[in-house]
């Protein structure tokens, strides 16, 4: 799987409101930021998986009224995203993934579940 293939698949999944991640079929490491090899073991036996969209906030910061967070997904990988609702943000709060299109670009965001 080459990088172009991975990015194309990510874009397709984003448009279908699916959060993708990459699983290494050799060592089982899961990661979000695309490489054509596993950053843990170097294997190129990778597959793109679909996250169930459930996770929690690992850490967050509020700047210019935007919440920037590290989100830890149930599948065991972490990624950066903004949080869409601000009411009761805290570390370990449960979130679900939602998708927003800004400037012709669809990206995943976290939505806090109270």
């Amino acid at each position: 799987m080459g990088l172009t293939e991975i990015y194309n698949q990510y874009e397709k999944y984003f448009k279908g409101n699916i959060l993708p991640y990459i699983k290494c079929n050799n060592c089982n490491y899961k990661f979000y930021y695309p490489r054509d090899m596993c950053p843990e073991c170097g294997s190129d036996n990778l597959s793109i998986e679909k996250s169930n969209g459930n996770g929690k906030i690992y850490s967050y910061t509020v700047s210019n009224k935007n919440i920037w967070a590290i989100i830890e997904m149930n599948e065991g990988f972490k990624f950066y995203a903004n949080i869409t609702n601000s009411g009761t943000v805290d570390i370990n709060k449960r979130i679900t993934i939602t998708f927003i299109n800004k400037n012709n670009k669809t990206l995943p965001y976290g939505e806090i579940q109270d």
Binding site: Y7, Y10, F31, Y32, Y33, P34, P39, Y58, S59, Y60, T61, V62, S63, N64, N66, W68, A69, I70, K78, F79, Y80, A81, N82, D90, I91, N92, K102, N103, K105, L107
Partner: protein, 382 residues
């Protein structure tokens, strides 16, 4: 050994970055008592925007040697961000020892104000130019709202608060104690009375970090000349050295409060505890706290209590950032490494106004680079 050192630092310098670097070099040559023609080695670093607003500078080490009129047989560039100068110092000592050069100029700095005026940092330069890509993951990192690198350290501070129960007041107290040293240093840019309330009531830039616990980008260069002998200066040596590079994105780390400093300091933990003064990278208050914990000076999670209970003055039980640190000196071109080394050399040469008595060993730790990957730990002295 360092035979000459100098700084040229301004809040906002009206002239060119090249004139500013020449000022630092001229002062360092004066101290070393050597001529420009004696310089035969050169190490520097480049970051976007810091040399008169250029995004990139083709073959920059060669161009700067050309501008300054120095002819060298060795040149190099360090890419560790803030601690680059410390790693360059270590390499220069080795190059002198193996005979590669006789007098190596370390020239670090630039104009931070031009980048600041664009309301960005060197880390977010790609935001203002669609054609500029700084990472392999731009399409998945760009498009969100954040203010890196402040946001990155804020995420670490927030996590530290949650896991270790550190408080805003403890971080503020560190800023206050560094200001006390700044008021005595004689060369800090930001001086005057400062209280914990002042820090807490200053604007929140990236929650939980406040304006008064964040460095202010300024214009400045530092020049250090490494030679075979220290000349008129004290023969200060690098007694212990370590560097480490955690290149994972913070988001892919298991624990964002665990720094590469835990590895760079690993070989000489006990010696670190016996130093006479401590210069720890202070891009933000949380940076100092994480280094206190990751270099083994205090247990992990205990830096907040340590700040409350410890006197950081030059005559205190733990002289820390005795020049007031970069938070009060200003951060030249988004790199504080030179500020740490400069103050350490003042102290070891008994040239500081806020002088530590019998200063024989200084522990310096620098943190920086893309997503704070790099750490350089060193004890220098005699």
């Amino acid at each position: 050994m360092i035979s000459g050192f100098a700084e040229a630092v301004y809040k906002k310098y009206d002239k060119s970055a090249y004139e500013l670097m020449n000022e630092a070099l001229s002062k360092a040559l004066d101290m070393a008592g050597i001529q420009r023609s004696d310089i035969d080695g050169f190490i520097s670093t480049f970051m976007p925007g810091i040399f008169d607003d250029n995004v990139y500078m083709h073959f920059f080490t060669s161009q700067i040697c050309n501008y300054l009129g120095i002819n060298v047989k060795y040149m190099d560039s360090m890419e560790y961000g803030g601690p680059s100068v410390l790693a360059a110092y270590y390499r220069a000592e080795k190059l002198i020892k193996d005979g590669s050069a006789d007098n190596i100029l370390l020239l670090f700095g630039g104009k931070g104000s031009l980048v600041k005026d664009r309301k960005i940092t060197v880390d977010s330069y790609e935001k203002i130019n669609d054609g500029v890509t700084n990472t392999p993951y731009k399409s998945l990192l760009n498009g969100y709202d954040n203010i890196n690198p402040v946001s990155d350290y804020a995420l670490a501070a927030q996590r530290h608060k949650k896991i270790y129960r550190s408080t805003d007041e403890q971080r503020a107290e560190l800023a206050v104690k560094q200001r006390i040293n700044a008021n005595l240093s004689g060369y800090s840019m930001f001086t005057g009375d400062l209280t914990v309330e002042n820090v807490i009531n200053s604007p929140v830039i990236s929650d939980p970090l406040h304006l008064l616990e964040i460095v202010y980008p300024v214009d400045g260069f530092h020049a250090f000349i490494v030679s075979k002998s220290a000349g008129k200066l004290r023969p200060v040596k690098i007694l212990n050295y370590g560097e480490a590079h955690f290149t994972k994105l913070p988001v892919e780390m298991d624990d964002i409060t665990l720094l590469s400093a835990s590895e760079s300091s690993g070989d000489f933990r006990e010696k670190i505890k016996k130093c006479d003064l401590y210069e720890l990278y202070d891009s933000f208050t949380i940076t100092v706290m994480l280094q206190l914990e990751n270099t083994g000076i205090v247990e992990r999670g205990k830096s907040g209590k340590f700040i409350e209970n410890t006197d950081f003055k030059s005559n205190g039980d733990f002289p820390l950032n005795t020049g007031g640190g970069s938070i009060n000196r200003g951060q030249p071109a988004y790199m504080s490494g030179s500020v740490l080394l400069y103050e350490s050399l003042l102290q070891l040469n008994n040239m500081a106004k806020n002088q530590v008595k019998s200063a024989n060993r200084a522990f310096i730790n620098g943190i920086g680079g893309w997503s704070r990957s790099h750490s350089v730990s060193m004890i220098i002295g005699e």
